[in-house]
């Protein structure tokens, strides 16, 4: 398997008697960003977990080249560790049984925090962080594993606009700087539009489409996906033309 490539072929997952999805295929090349969109319960998280290796598909292939960093949707903690202690846990795959993180592991953890603008956060407690800061810490922990593929489950959900923008820009920047392959789920078509090269739409158990963001993020497809009219608008802002995908709640 080529490093940085994600390949899903005829992936099927059944929960009891009910198919969550069947016949899902798509491919991401190294350095590409992919977004998965679809209503709740269509198996977006399940698919991500299958790609990450946390779940076994009922049948089909979901494989990845290289190390995966995974950022789950829920990031609550039983114990409130210090930020540096959390990020250094990203080194777990590099640390053997009965061993503890060494100077190099802490160096990588600190450097990763600095890259994400959290250099001064090392001694802060997780419980004292805001939602956006927590999400950044989780991304830092994934990056500290020195992954080639970063997989995120709804990284912007439950965040305010400024934090959504912060997370999106952070992901864009590190993907470009590190040549990372990124795959994320989102409920906001515009986030996919901003970040993704490749988009997978999961309409229902038997219907999925994938292609370039431009092909997939159209008014017709998004309306079919959500059952709500979605309009593609061109908006003038700051002398630039920005495009927006706006759902209409009528």
């Amino acid at each position: 398997m080529v490093v940085g490539v994600i390949r899903v072929e005829q992936a099927e997952f059944r929960y009891g008697d009910a198919w969550v999805f069947r016949g899902v295929s798509f491919e991401l090349q190294r350095g590409q960003t992919g977004a998965i969109l679809g209503p709740n319960g269509r198996g977006k998280t399940t698919l991500l977990k299958a790609i990450t290796g946390l779940l076994k598909l009922t049948s089909g292939i979901a494989e990845t080249g290289g190390r995966i960093g995974y950022v789950a949707q829920r990031n609550d903690m039983a114990f409130s560790y210090k930020v540096l202690d959390i990020v250094v846990m990203g080194r777990a795959a590099h640390i053997g049984l009965f061993r503890t993180p060494g100077a190099e592991d802490y160096r990588i953890a600190r450097r990763t925090l600095e890259r994400l603008g959290l250099g001064s956060f090392t001694d802060r407690l997780y419980s004292q962080l805001s939602g956006g800061e927590r999400q950044l810490v989780m991304i830092a922990r994934a990056l500290a594993s020195e992954c080639e593929v970063l997989i995120l489950d709804e990284p912007t959900s439950a965040l305010d606009f400024s934090n959504q923008a912060l997370i999106l820009e952070t992901l864009r920047r590190i993907a470009r700087e590190d040549g990372l392959t990124v795959l994320m789920t989102t409920h906001v078509p515009q986030h996919a539009q901003r970040l993704a090269d490749i988009v997978l739409l999961m309409y229902g158990p038997d219907r999925q489409d994938w292609g370039t963001a431009a092909e997939m993020l159209t008014e017709d497809r998004l309306e079919a996906l959500y059952g709500v009219p979605v309009k593609a608008l061109e908006i003038q802002h700051d002398g630039r033309t920005a495009s927006a995908l706006v759902p209409l709640f009528l």
């Binding site: 946390l54 114990f79 409130s80 560790y81 202690d85 777990a92 993180p101 407690l125 419980s127 594993s145």
Partner: protein, 349 residues
């Protein structure tokens, strides 16, 4: 599950202070405890008796004082300290791997399983090694049963853990009753009953070695796994996605926990609640990082149980089983923690 332990993590300086305070407290505890008892020994005599082991000091104390301090009280205090440290470390490790601050060796069934294993060993033989082996084997078995019953979709909720622990403990208690029922009432039955009540009264240096070896070995494994316990405390899925081999890692910790708990049960009977309550207080001082939490739990556990044993042997003319006192202190504290936890949402997990 919500975020707990808002305690600020202490700086390096504060931390050095913490270890200093804990070590001094432990030293004072031992010193004072050697003098406490129905036969009181003044503290200067105790210090002299101890120093005379390494320095040439002219005795100012009576020989009987020296015998009481060195041959009767010292092994007992060592066993109480080892038991307290072992139970607290075992509890800290369990709380980490089950990502739940409200479990302990007793909740998780180890103690009741070990009690049956030990009672069975007493019934069948005189061997102390078999006693530890039986306690270990059945302690581990009980833990596996609780763990299997309580796991749903890869997570063990506090409610399921506690309920599974009750079920399993009830079953092993019934088995203990069976061993009592079939035991010879003149000989084996009293031995089983007094052992079960939990006491350090029969302490000797042989017993110190018997408990020190497995407790030290288990605690060492747990301390070496401190980083892995941190990762496990994030939850199975997160730990796995970070590259940890979750099942293998957890089993290593659980076997070490069973070894420590069984050794304590074998030496002193069922001493409950220490492993649940002490790590909780230690976490308030050190924060949740197991690198600090495990040694702090060991020191506080040792100090605590030595003092409890002082009460057990010196407060009234008759000896009070130490397990009774730890339960009288521990159960209300557990109830308090459970209430507090419920408010934070652990109960819904």
């Amino acid at each position: 599950m919500s975020v707990a332990d808002q305690t600020a993590a202490p700086s390096a300086v504060k931390r050095l202070g913490l270890w200093g305070v804990l070590l001094i407290l432990l030293g004072l505890t031992v010193l004072v405890s050697l003098g406490i008892g129905r036969f009181g020994v003044p503290i200067d005599h105790v210090a002299g008796i101890l120093l005379a082991n390494v320095l040439p000091i002219e005795p100012t104390w009576r020989p009987v004082e020296e015998r009481v301090v060195e041959l009767i009280r010292m092994p007992r205090i060592l066993i109480a300290g080892l038991a307290g440290a072992g139970l607290a470390v075992a509890g800290a490790a369990l709380q980490g791997v089950f990502r739940n601050p409200l479990v302990g060796p007793q909740i998780i069934g180890v103690s009741s399983g070990a009690a049956f294993g030990g009672a069975l060993a007493i019934l069948l033989s005189e061997s102390q090694v078999l006693l530890i082996g039986g306690a270990f084997g059945f302690g581990l078995l009980a833990m596996v049963v609780v763990y299997t019953i309580s796991r749903q979709q890869g997570r063990a909720s506090i409610l399921m853990l506690v309920l599974s622990g009750i079920v399993t403990s009830a079953f092993f208690s019934a088995l203990v009753s069976v061993t009592k029922f079939v035991a010879d009432p003149d000989d084996k039955l009293p031995a089983i009953v007094f052992w079960l009540m939990g006491s350090f009264a029969s302490a000797s240096y042989d017993k110190v070695v018997l408990i020190a070896v497995p407790v030290a070995a288990g605690a060492l494994v747990i301390y070496l796994m401190r980083f892995q316990i941190n990762v496990l405390s994030l939850g199975d899925e997160e730990a796995q996605s970070l590259g940890l081999r979750v099942e293998r890692t957890r089993w290593i910790v659980l076997v070490a926990v069973a070894l420590v708990s069984a050794a304590v049960v074998a030496a002193a009977g069922v001493v409950g609640w220490v492993g649940l309550v002490i790590p909780h207080f230690a976490r308030m001082l050190t924060g949740p990082d197991h690198k600090l939490l495990i040694p702090a739990s060991a020191l506080i556990g040792a100090i605590y149980l030595i003092h409890v044993d002082n009460v057990a042997r010196a407060s009234i003319a008759a000896e009070i089983p130490v397990g009774i006192i730890t339960a009288l202190l521990g159960a209300p504290v557990f109830a308090y923690l459970l209430r507090r936890a419920a408010n934070k949402g652990w109960s819904s997990e």
